[in-house]
């Protein structure tokens, strides 16, 4: 593995670590001192150099180790990757989007050569080289969705569009915040969002769906979601909840800084060209509380957000029982000073 990629684990000894550079570019999701669900979507346009928005698909220092973790999850539970039969074309669309983006944005790591439908893909960090025929499944070791998402950080779902709705009908889901692809596959937009509190009543999902149905090719959008995770565990699946649930009871003032992580999902939405499906990459970033509080504005703000977030949200996100401890820890880093709007660090 090259110097650019960490040798680390997201299970067992949890050797995952963010470098100072990774902390600096962490996508802190709160533009203000309070949080409530909203239709928070903006164009997914290239952001500042070095930021997680610089490229369509961010490849960072955790890439190689995350892909190793995904392979382990899939070996345990192959149902984490599923695609209903009519979604294969959307899988090819996604493969094309990712290969073209990565080859364009990271030419030193990825190369894509095309000669008509004969494609040649090189992935240097994972030491993969593949010649295949685009749109011919028999020329890849597995389906196109599984093939490309075993090489791309973040979970992915593919939504078919029909009857004025979206249906989640394919996905690779190994780093999820407690929802099951196997259970949800085939559901409509309102159905798979059914467990979310408050947002239906606020009209968030009706408006978001209306917007998405009109999503245009070449004009992707993005939004943030967030939750809390004890230890840098990527696989917080409901399937394995009996394994990770008990860790929530082991937090103390002494270990919370090291073990409690803010988990941020950078979600993007892309219209796909042939299938007219929508691809939904869900990229999870983890940061320990002790690393997060090194940025004074983030420390102040996270304290206020966690203290005031409505109880139904804290319950749904699964941190209600530890909220008092989180607030106690974070309050040490909140001097009550005002914070500036926007999520970037103060120029201090």
């Amino acid at each position: 593995m090259g110097l650019e990629f960490n040798e680390e684990t997201f299970r067992g000894d949890f050797s995952f670590k963010n470098s100072p550079k990774a902390i600096k570019r962490f996508p802190f999701p709160f533009p203000e001192d309070s949080y409530m669900y909203s239709v928070n979507m903006e164009p997914h346009v290239p952001g500042p150099k070095g930021s997680v928005f610089e490229h369509t698909f961010d490849v960072d220092e955790h890439y190689v180790s995350e892909m190793r973790d995904r392979a382990m999850v899939l070996a345990d539970d192959p149902l984490r990757c599923q695609s209903l039969p009519h979604m294969t074309l959307a899988g090819w669309d996604l493969l094309e989007l990712i290969m073209e983006s990565k080859a364009r944005d990271y030419p030193h790591w990825f190369e894509l050569h095309k000669n008509g439908n004969k494609w040649h893909w090189i992935n240097r960090p994972l030491e993969i080289e593949q010649k295949f025929t685009f749109l011919d499944e028999t020329t890849l070791p597995c389906g196109p969705l599984e093939y490309i998402t075993r090489q791309t950080q973040g979970d992915f779902t593919l939504q078919d569009q029909r009857d004025n709705n979206l249906f989640i009908e394919a996905g690779m889901v190994t780093t999820q915040a407690d929802w099951s692809l196997d259970f949800d596959i085939g559901m409509s937009f309102q159905e798979w969002h059914a467990p979310v509190p408050m947002a239906h009543e606020l009209g968030v999902f009706d408006r978001a769906l209306k917007f998405l149905l009109k999503l245009q090719l070449g004009a992707p959008v993005r939004r943030f979601n967030w939750t809390m995770t004890v230890d840098p565990l990527l696989d917080t699946s409901p399937e394995n909840y009996p394994k990770w649930g008990p860790t929530k009871t082991t937090l103390t003032m002494d270990n919370i800084g090291r073990r409690q992580h803010l988990r941020v999902e950078l979600q993007t939405l892309h219209r796909l060209p042939r299938s007219n499906a929508i691809a939904f990459p869900i990229r999870a970033y983890l940061i320990s509380f002790q690393d997060l509080v090194t940025v004074p504005k983030w420390a102040r703000r996270l304290h206020r957000v966690i203290r005031d977030v409505p109880e139904p949200l804290a319950t749904y996100k699964g941190f209600l029982r530890n909220r008092p401890l989180m607030v106690e820890y974070l309050s040490q880093f909140d001097d009550g000073k005002p914070t500036s709007p926007g999520w970037w660090p103060e120029p201090e």
């Binding site: 149902l79 085939g186 559901m187 467990p195 394995n240 909840y241 649930g245 008990p246 009871t249």
Partner: protein
């Protein structure tokens, strides 16, 4: 469609209606337990068109999870075919054959417990028939079909919340989140965070 009166408001839960006779080349009725009463009402609603409808009707019936067996009331209707079986899995090969042979204009009616209707809807969709061809009406027991999200095993006829998974033995609470594809609610380990602390089971579904 009238809404069901079952508890819970989660948007993934199906909504059931009242069976109405619709013109069709053939009629397939799948019912269990108290659903027999809804079938009798359906035929009554057909009025003078009932004999013509019954001449093209195939009824598949099984007792409900609470033991209710009203097959005699269905046999008395005089449908072209009336078949009684033990449970859904024994009915399934016959149902799949009928769905596979179906022509345009088949009307499908299913009534009784949620577990039965959910499985019929699933098998109809799997057979490639439009879901609009199916009408549903809930009658009788409210016991649930639940998938354990951990081991993926399905437990039929769940009465209490929490309950013990019949496959892996974990104690599960029953969510209102419902999957049409699995025709099941979701069960999640209730003592995951505090192993051993299982609250007493409450009879939520009868």
């Amino acid at each position: 469609m009238t809404n069901s009166v079952l508890e819970g408001t989660m948007r993934s839960r199906p909504v059931y209606g009242v069976l109405e006779p619709r013109p069709g080349k053939a009629h397939l009725i799948v019912a269990d337990g108290e659903g027999a009463g809804a079938v009798v009402d359906l035929v009554a609603r057909a009025g003078e068109t009932a004999p013509a409808m019954l001449a093209r009707t195939h009824i598949i019936y099984m007792p409900g999870p609470n033991g209710t067996d009203a097959f005699e009331s269905l046999k008395a209707l005089g449908a072209a075919q009336a078949f009684r079986t033990h449970d859904y899995s024994t009915a399934q090969p016959r149902l799949k054959k009928v769905l596979g042979d179906a022509h345009m204009g088949l009307q499908i009616y299913t009534t009784g417990t949620e577990g039965l209707m959910g499985q019929v809807l699933r098998d109809v969709m799997e057979a490639g028939l439009p879901a609009q061809a199916v009408q549903t009406e809930h009658r009788g027991s409210t016991v649930r079909r639940v998938q354990c999200v951990h081991c993926k095993g399905i437990t039929e006829n769940v009465r209490t919340d929490p309950f013990q998974c019949s496959h892996c033995g974990l104690h599960l609470f029953v969510r209102d989140h419902y999957s049409r594809r699995l025709a099941a609610y979701q069960g999640v380990n209730i003592d995951a965070e505090d192993p051993g602390e299982v609250p007493p089971a409450v009879e939520r579904f009868k």
